[in-house]
Amino acid sequence: MYNLLVILFAKVLNFFANILCKILHKNNGNLLGKIVKKLSPDILKSIKIDCPVIAVTATNGKTTTNNAIRYMLEQNGKKVVSNSEGNNMETGIITTLIKACTLTGKIKADFVTFEVDESYVPVVFKKIPLSTLVVLDFFRDQLDRNGEVESLILKINEFLKTYDGNLVLNNDDPNVARLGRANENNKNVYYFSVDKYKYATEKEVEAGEGKFCPFDKTRLEYEYYQYSHIGKFKCPKCGYGEENLFAEIKDVDLEQRTFKENGITYKTLANNIYTVYNYAAVISVAKLYKLDAKEALKTFKLDNGRAENIEVNGCETIINLAKNPTGANVSLRTLNEDPEEKELLFVLNDKAADGHDVSWIWDINFEVKNVTRIVTAGTRAYDMAIRIKTSGFDADKIEPYLDLKEAVQALYRTKTKKYVIANYTALQPTRKEIFQLGTVLK
């Protein structure tokens, strides 16, 4: 009864907060969830969800994949409730559900989809039912905030020991595929994989985690690496790495932006390998629920600084979020796969949400091709400049600015194609400065 009152109160609060936010042009983020959680820590248990709940977790790719799943479901005519803005901790999920539910706490939808922060999977899904969990990848990420990757994986593994819903796993990440063995009795484990693409390598060229078999500590053998430690691996001792595939992406062509799955050709807007992995997860979910992903992926747009492609005063610009070494490495990979001449802006902040430790920039593989100038900005603009200089890039062609506006203006001094990489708190301010420069075509 108390929880029902809290929900009612929260709905009223949300009503007035929305009006206030409209007047102030502000986004209230997950404040509602924070208030509600204070009033009732277990409020999630009182929200009635009768439809399937799909959740996506990973180090990188949560927002893109969750939004692509939501879009795919909607294109199939389904009504979806989702935390599309990326508020992925418990309070963000509470906010999403409170906003969407009826006055009595019911969710009326065909599907609920969430992106969930890796460490919150066990917390949130103790309280709400979960039908399908998608796990994309695990990379080192903000060690001073999150701790070691291994302890994060073990937490999720522990949760999965008693979970018997659908589990959709990336077979090409040894840190993810291992989760399929957490509960031997779960018959609903589905693996997806992407076949070797044009720029795959025989050796690992970027910092990665999956070096040893999680079951017998033997060094894993790789046939090839797609990026970081994602690739075709096998444990020479126990054979770990050879699962039956539920979805297998083949013939990846990043120039044509096409790939095949089970004989069907998909044409997408994605020009990079890690997004193809995200789409492999979307296709797996579509197959599980017997829906079509082909039409949806044809028009699903990447935006909001996730491989966002825009034109600023006629100058082609690609903006990408990178909050850890792998995020930055895959962005630079896309840059290097582009034969055109280009300039790069790298914005590095060290605020609380970014992690105060910027050592991770030394795990970035900074061998860039056809880059004529690099501008650095953010609270750690000079750290970035030192990093790039040390990689061998001509120091005279590096321009550090502590002021973001100055940096963006300096970047657009020329008409050369731009690549912009920004970390977590730097992304939106950087986009704002770029969008204020002039005419922007999406």
């Binding site: 080192r140 060690l143 001073d144 070691e148 990757v149 291994e150 910092a207 070096k211 500590k217 105060h356 430790d357 910027v358 050592s359 991770w360 920039i361 030394w362 795990d363 000079y382 750290d383 400049a385 030192i386 990093r387 200089k389 040390t390 990689s391 061998g392 120091a395 590096i398 550090p400 502590l402």
Partner: protein, 284 residues
């Protein structure tokens, strides 16, 4: 062409916090001066390395799991590592490697992981796993500390004794430029282990924790050893430390006083200025 040889220990296991950047910085600063750096790697399963044949040995920090695996391997080389330290090979040891070179590491459950016992300090894990020394850190380091002594058998100072003229010149310049070797060192610490019984610390803590929570001292320092918790990586923002190591190794190897060329460190200087102001102000 002059060249230095570096041994990189467990590159696939001790590589958590971008510590490899230290080698990249050394290589960059050597190559800018026309000196080659040969990097040999050693990890589990490789042939035993000849530690004493190197100019520099480097090891970084890793995940707990990896560290417990490799400590068993490393201990096989206890004697040859001790020998190399005594002969004056430079050892740069970060975080986990710093701990492994001590007497032992006592884990959260009271389990003892034996160290190499090259140095007399020991480390005890903070019992509360959630409590760690995490954050930016600034030290004051006296790089002049060992310049007047000749304690190593094969080190720089002994070589100076063979040349009186050069020796007296050096002493003059040392007196005139004592401050030249005092430097603030900026880095980032992230460790649960608390290290005790340090005879000779790397630096005094101006901001941050140090060897233990709220300590006044950080790391371990000997003429040919820097062992520290500082990531960042350490050498990236601290060119004076890099050049101390480079000078030491060149002088030891070529047995002569070598004045290394000054490099353009304008990014480093601006970075240090910005961060020192930020951190030291935060403290006040």
């Amino acid at each position: 062409m002059k060249e230095l040889k570096l041994l990189y220990l467990y590159p696939d296991m001790l590589e958590l916090y971008g510590d490899y950047g230290n080698i990249q910085v050394l290589k960059y600063r050597l190559e800018k001066r026309g000196i080659n750096l040969i990097i040999d790697k050693y990890s589990i399963g490789d042939d035993a390395p000849d530690f004493a044949s190197y100019d520099i040995v480097f090891a970084g920090g890793g995940a707990d799991n990896e560290q417990s695996i490799l400590s068993k391997d490393l201990i096989k080389y206890k004697d040859s590592i001790k020998d190399a330290v005594e002969k004056g090979v430079f050892f740069l040891l970060i975080c986990g490697a710093y701990q492994l070179f001590g007497k032992y590491y006592k884990g959260v459950e009271g389990n003892i992981i034996p160290g190499l016992e090259v140095f007399n300090y020991y480390t005890v894990a903070e019992p509360d796993r959630k409590k760690r020394c995490i954050g930016n850190i600034v030290l004051s380091v006296d790089l002049n500390k060992f310049k007047n002594r000749s304690q190593t058998n094969n080190g720089v100072n002994k070589s100076f004794e063979n040349n009186n003229e050069e020796n007296s010149n050096l002493e003059k310049s040392i007196k005139a430029e004592t401050n030249k070797f005092e430097t603030e060192v900026i880095g980032f610490e992230n460790h649960g282990g608390q290290t005790f019984d340090i005879e000779s610390p790397f630096g005094k803590v101006l901001y941050g924790n140090g060897n233990k929570f709220g300590d006044t001292e950080e790391g371990y320092f000997k003429q040919n050893v820097i062992a520290t918790y500082l990531h960042g990586p350490l050498l990236a923002k601290n060119p004076k430390i890099s050049d101390y190591i480079i000078s030491y190794c060149l002088e030891r190897k070529y047995n002569e006083k070598i004045e290394i060329e000054k490099l353009d460190d304008s990014f480093e200087e601006k970075c240090r200025e910005q961060l020192l102001e930020k951190f030291l102000k935060e403290k006040m």
